[in-house]
């Protein structure tokens, strides 16, 4: 339920219809745009702030700078032609799109993918999660002016991108999870190189802990700042680490396991305080967990057998009428594809449900009220939003 805001703010007053009584001409308020070319914004989006002194009284998220109309474009592409385009929906963690799309299409077409493909998919998703969290850690500290963390984590991410490159043949857009399986098996000597990368990652995570989480100023800037009342989680569709930072153990990997997750051992990371620090800490532990999961996957996965199911000719693949929703736990929360088919060779409708959609819009606008301008960037980053998945 929408709570009365008056308990957190004396000003501005609210009008009868619930809107804020902000008279810009009064001179008391200042309109401030953050973005789109603003270093404190994660990617190409903007927040329109109305500030009074250093205090924000109203914030509006503006998106659409990255809108390409994916959901429309997919309607005029065949099922296989959609495959290269879905990963572009979310740039920093593209693999989730590939997985959700492939899984949805497979379910509607009644295709069962081979065991090895399942494991490779899980591996890719965990690698992607790790990369995304590395970006987050760098961004979170960077938003507060601590640059070195971003240097280190981006380096580790680069190493992981190397692993991606040798596995999938590309750095950013991997285009590896095809409907029906994955393109190829693991390359020769992959495990050893991955282990090396993971060791470096662990070392870096230790440094990150020392320099970022054990940092007096960082703690001062984040503990107790950007608090989200856990009671609001359902109202605002909060999922993933943002919710887990507030003590709600939401994790699709455990709640509704998919791919190889039932065979993997992991704890759901939870923190209590629901502030920026808790969320950062949950994500830090998520990253460590990803390292562990990658190790588990490489140890447990089958190395033989096909990686693609027997598929019809992809050039004119038709899928009977139906609709489904596939979800997964990406680094930011629940990621899902709602796919409707109508028996033709083209999807009837694809709707992408990214966690950023609710986090960066309604939730952010709610949280930003009464926030200090200096904390806006940190707050925004702490929700871990990626604009391209909001507007698609």
């Amino acid at each position: 339920m929408v709570q009365d805001l008056s308990d957190r703010s004396q000003y501005p007053a609210r009008n009868r219809d619930g809107t804020l009584d902000v008279d810009l001409t009064s001179g008391k308020y200042l309109k401030l745009w953050q973005g789109p070319n603003h270093p404190g914004i994660t990617g190409n989006m903007s927040v329109e702030l109305t500030v009074c002194g250093d205090e924000v009284v109203e914030g509006k998220t503006h998106v659409g700078y990255l809108h390409r109309g994916f959901e429309k474009l997919m309607e005029r592409r065949t099922f296989i032609q959609c495959f290269p385009i879905v990963c572009r929906i979310c740039v920093p963690e593209p693999d989730f799109n590939e997985y959700c799309y492939a899984a949805a299409v497979e379910e509607l077409a009644g295709v069962e993918i081979p065991e090895q493909a399942k494991w490779i998919r899980t591996l890719i998703l965990e690698m992607g999660r790790f990369n995304s969290l590395m970006m987050y850690l760098g961004g979170q500290s960077g938003s507060l002016g601590l640059g070195v963390i971003g240097q280190w984590t981006t380096y580790v991410r680069d190493l992981m991108l190397d692993r991606f490159e040798e596995l999938t043949g590309a750095r950013i857009y991997h285009m590896f999870i095809l409907p029906g399986g994955v393109r190829d098996t693991l390359p020769e000597g992959f495990d050893a190189r991955m282990e090396e990368t993971l060791r470096e990652a662990e070392r870096t995570m230790k440094d990150v802990w020392n320099v970022m989480f054990q940092n007096a100023v960082f703690r001062k800037r984040t503990i107790g700042v950007g608090y989200i009342n856990p009671a609001l989680f359902d109202d605002y569709g909060v999922t993933g680490p943002t919710a887990r930072g507030g003590g709600v153990a939401k994790d699709v990997r455990r709640d509704q396991p998919y791919l190889a997750y039932p065979d993997l051992e992991f704890e759901v990371n939870v923190a209590r305080d629901s502030d920026i620090y808790s969320r950062a800490d949950v994500r830090r532990r998520d990253a460590l967990q990803s390292i562990d999961l990658i190790r588990q996957i490489l140890a447990k996965m089958p190395r033989t057998g096909p990686v693609m199911a027997k598929m019809p000719n992809m050039l004119h693949w038709k899928i009977p009428r139906g609709e489904t929703y596939i979800r997964g736990e990406c680094s930011r929360g629940e990621y899902g594809f709602y796919v409707v088919t109508d028996g033709s060779g083209y999807p009837r409708r694809v709707n992408v449900r990214g966690p950023s959609y609710t986090h960066a819009m309604a939730l952010l606008e709610r949280l930003i009220v009464n926030c200090n301008i200096a904390d806006v960037a940190a707050l925004l980053v702490s929700l871990h939003t990626y604009p391209p998945e909001i507007e698609r």
């Binding site: 109309g69 939401k250 509704q256 609709e323 489904t324 009837r348 609710t358 819009m361």
Partner: protein
């Protein structure tokens, strides 16, 4: 999920029930029952998480399908509620009073499909597009390729030949 269907049926007139997976079902209801059903699902059945709200354009039938997808985390199950509304002058009751975040979805639907949600906050504000003048782009009858070709310049000099006709032309110039 049979039990759920039975319970809901006592409460509301349910339309077509599609069991997509063991943990996912879709059900069609009339638009006047929607609000009550969603509230019931949220308050009494544990479907507290609004996963998404979107629309499907069934142009041939002259209808929009609105899908309200909800998740019950404790029971690890999802239900999608479908509502069919006429395409012409489409409007729908807002559910932002149940989930504040629904306002964002409704803004998007307003802009991309032209479905109105009277009373939803900021529903008429521009959301993603800026200065859009054509019909709402997610409608099926909007041709994005045609629009793109008319609106944006493409780099000239692209020609392609169809192998079939090219071979016929080259090998049988007189058309035999």
């Amino acid at each position: 999920m049979q039990d759920l269907q039975t319970r809901l049926a006592q409460h509301t007139d349910l339309g077509e029930w599609t069991q997509q997976r063991a943990d996912l079902a879709f059900v069609t209801v009339a638009r006047e029952h929607l609000h009550g059903l969603l509230r019931h699902l949220r308050d009494h059945e544990g479907f507290t998480h609004l996963v998404l709200l979107t629309a499907v354009d069934w142009l041939e039938d002259g209808q929009f399908q609105l899908t309200y997808l909800m998740n019950n985390r404790a029971a690890a199950r999802d239900i999608g509620v479908r509502v069919l509304i006429p395409r012409e002058g489409a409007d729908m009751d807002s559910i932002h009073d149940l989930w504040p975040t629904a306002a964002t979805y409704q803004r998007e639907l307003r802009e991309m499909f032209g479905i109105d949600f009277p009373g939803s906050p900021r529903v008429d504000e521009e959301f993603i597009l800026e200065g859009w003048r054509d019909m709402p782009p997610y409608r099926r009858d909007f041709d994005t390729l045609k629009y793109a070709q008319e609106e944006f310049a493409e780099r000239p000099g692209r020609v392609s030949k169809d192998p079939e006709t090219h071979m016929k032309q080259k090998l049988y110039p007189d058309g035999a």
